[in-house]
């Protein structure tokens, strides 16, 4: 009951805003190339679903986001485990990480464009760069934070380094590594949409730009709403998975 009340309160503001916009649009007999009423946006969205265009764009964007996340995340995870388990390597790489990390991912758009042209490869490369860093830093911290007693156990069991990493370090650091991938997934989606809005003719970002340029504000707004739902849904799904898989052990501070 309390939960229902909270949800109702949360929905009250957006619902009121949408109704007000609709009324304003109807009263002013809105005829515009930049704005559209909420109802028109809903109709345009329904059409885009019916002809499959928005679904295709969603698949393209998610393929790029997850492709890049898988690539960048795996490299980041491997390097993160390496830096986390060896203080020497971590100290030696300190400067290089500091120098490369602040490069904004969008600065690589022209570089990837030059090398790959437009398409999936270019976008996946940029998303991979963007999701590499949070996974690297957070998994390094996660591995470095593994209880030292566990390393003693590994020594007593005479585990070789690889077995130690797979059987002891990874399971202990897994909740925090999952958090790293959760953050990186959000970044991956953001970067994918950004690349599509700015240059790459694929996916949701491009669909939105196309709708804007062809003076279909109702379709543009439908895309915007859908991108919002995708972003929220992705986050919701991962947070729920995290709770189910790790319970309280996943409640760690994510600040780096």
């Amino acid at each position: 009951m309390k939960r229902a009340l909270a949800i109702g309160r949360g929905l009250a503001f957006p619902a009121a805003a949408i109704v007000l916009c609709q009324i304003a649009a109807m009263v002013s007999h809105l005829q515009s190339d930049t704005l559209a009423s909420p109802a028109a946006a809903l109709v345009a969205g329904a059409h885009a679903f019916a002809d499959g265009s928005i679904l295709l764009a969603t698949v393209q964007t998610l393929a790029n986001a997850f492709g890049g996340l898988a690539l960048g995340g795996c490299i980041g995870l491997i390097l993160g485990i390496l830096l986390g388990s060896s203080t020497t390597a971590d100290r030696l790489m300190e400067f290089s990480v500091e120098a490369l990390r602040p490069i904004p991912s969008v600065a690589l758009i022209p570089v990837a464009m030059l090398i790959y042209g437009f398409g999936y490869r270019m976008e996946i490369a940029i998303v991979a760069f963007a999701s590499f860093w949070p996974v690297l830093i957070l998994s390094r911290n996660a591995v470095a934070g593994v209880d030292a007693a566990l390393f003693d156990v590994a020594r007593v069991l005479r585990l070789p380094p690889l077995a130690r990493t797979i059987k002891i370090v990874l399971p202990a650091a897994l909740p925090r590594i999952f958090v790293a991938f959760r953050l990186a997934a959000g970044i991956a989606l953001t970067v994918a949409v950004t690349v599509e809005v700015s240059t790459n003719p694929l996916g949701l970002g491009y669909g939105m730009m196309l709708a804007e340029q062809s003076l279909h504000p109702e379709l543009m707004l439908a895309y915007l709403l859908w991108i919002g739902i995708i972003g929220w849904g992705l986050n919701f799904a991962i947070v729920n998975a995290q709770r189910r898989l790790f319970g309280r052990s996943a409640n760690v501070r994510t600040a780096t």
Partner: protein, 253 residues
């Protein structure tokens, strides 16, 4: 302390080794020089760009855009965040909407900005300000909502006015959260400044590197990327220094 400096020097040397490796790969033409100019040609492009003044002009434009947009976003974020964070009903009614908007990619508002403002400076600035608003806004709401309730009781016992409570208790107590949000906002500002310049073809590093790539001037492109990395590094370090100064009182506990 000496060991620290030693390690630092060693890590810089490792960075130097990476640059040497880059030079070797480029000189040996393992990768076509069209895609990968060596550090020597990149450095020459940097020097030439600053000598002719084009690179400096682009850099200043980008810095200006990023900082103005960031300051606007921070100001709006802190004021709005304080209003929402201080009032329980506002949090109950607006909180879920903010949570819905939080994961929305900031660049998704760019087409909206273009529809309203056209391909203008105002559009770029508006998009930066709007996109960079959320991290600071959400952090401020969280900071103000998480103020120790005892402090409010103390303020009531002292008969402080509402404004004094905000200024002397709520704001300092939520400052760590706010600064954390502002740091994220700064990163978002730089990204949106670059993307905005690319789309609106405004003078700046973003459009500069895009033109360099389209005309196959790879050294100019890499020089711009290096400069953007430097810009990201310096602004982040500057904010860290500011944070350390503002939060000095926290270390003494």
């Amino acid at each position: 302390m000496n060991a620290r400096i030693g390690w630092r020097l060693a890590s810089v040397a490792v960075g130097g080794l990476f640059i040497v490796a880059w030079q070797l790969v480029a000189s040996a033409h393992i990768v076509s020089p069209v895609y990968l100019p060596g550090p020597d040609r990149t450095w020459n492009a940097l020097v030439r760009g600053f000598a002719t003044g084009t690179l400096l002009a682009q850099l200043l434009q980008t810095v200006q855009r990023m900082l103005v947009g960031w300051l606007l976003a921070s100001l709006a974020g802190i004021v709005l965040g304080a209003c929402i964070g201080l009032s329980r009903p506002a949090r109950a009614y607006l909180g879920p909407t903010l949570e819905f908007l939080r994961p929305l990619p900031a660049s998704a508002v760019i087409p909206l900005g273009i529809a309203f403002f056209g391909l203008s400076d105002g559009m770029v600035l508006g998009v930066i300000a709007f996109g960079a608003l959320w991290p600071t806004l959400l952090a401020t709401v969280h900071g103000f909502a998480a103020v120790e309730p005892c402090l409010y009781e103390v303020s009531r016992a002292l008969g402080m006015s509402r404004l004094a409570v905000i200024w002397k208790i709520a704001l300092p107590s939520s400052l760590p959260d706010i600064l954390g949000g502002m740091r994220l906002s700064l990163t978002v500002s730089l990204i949106l400044a670059v993307v905005g310049e690319m789309l609106a073809s405004r003078t700046g590093l973003g459009s500069g590197i895009l033109v360099a790539a389209r005309t196959f001037h790879a050294p100019d492109l890499y020089a711009g990327v290096v400069l953007l990395g430097g810009l990201g590094y310096i602004t982040a370090q500057g904010l860290f220094a500011l944070e350390a100064r503002l939060l000095r009182w926290r270390a003494v506990r």
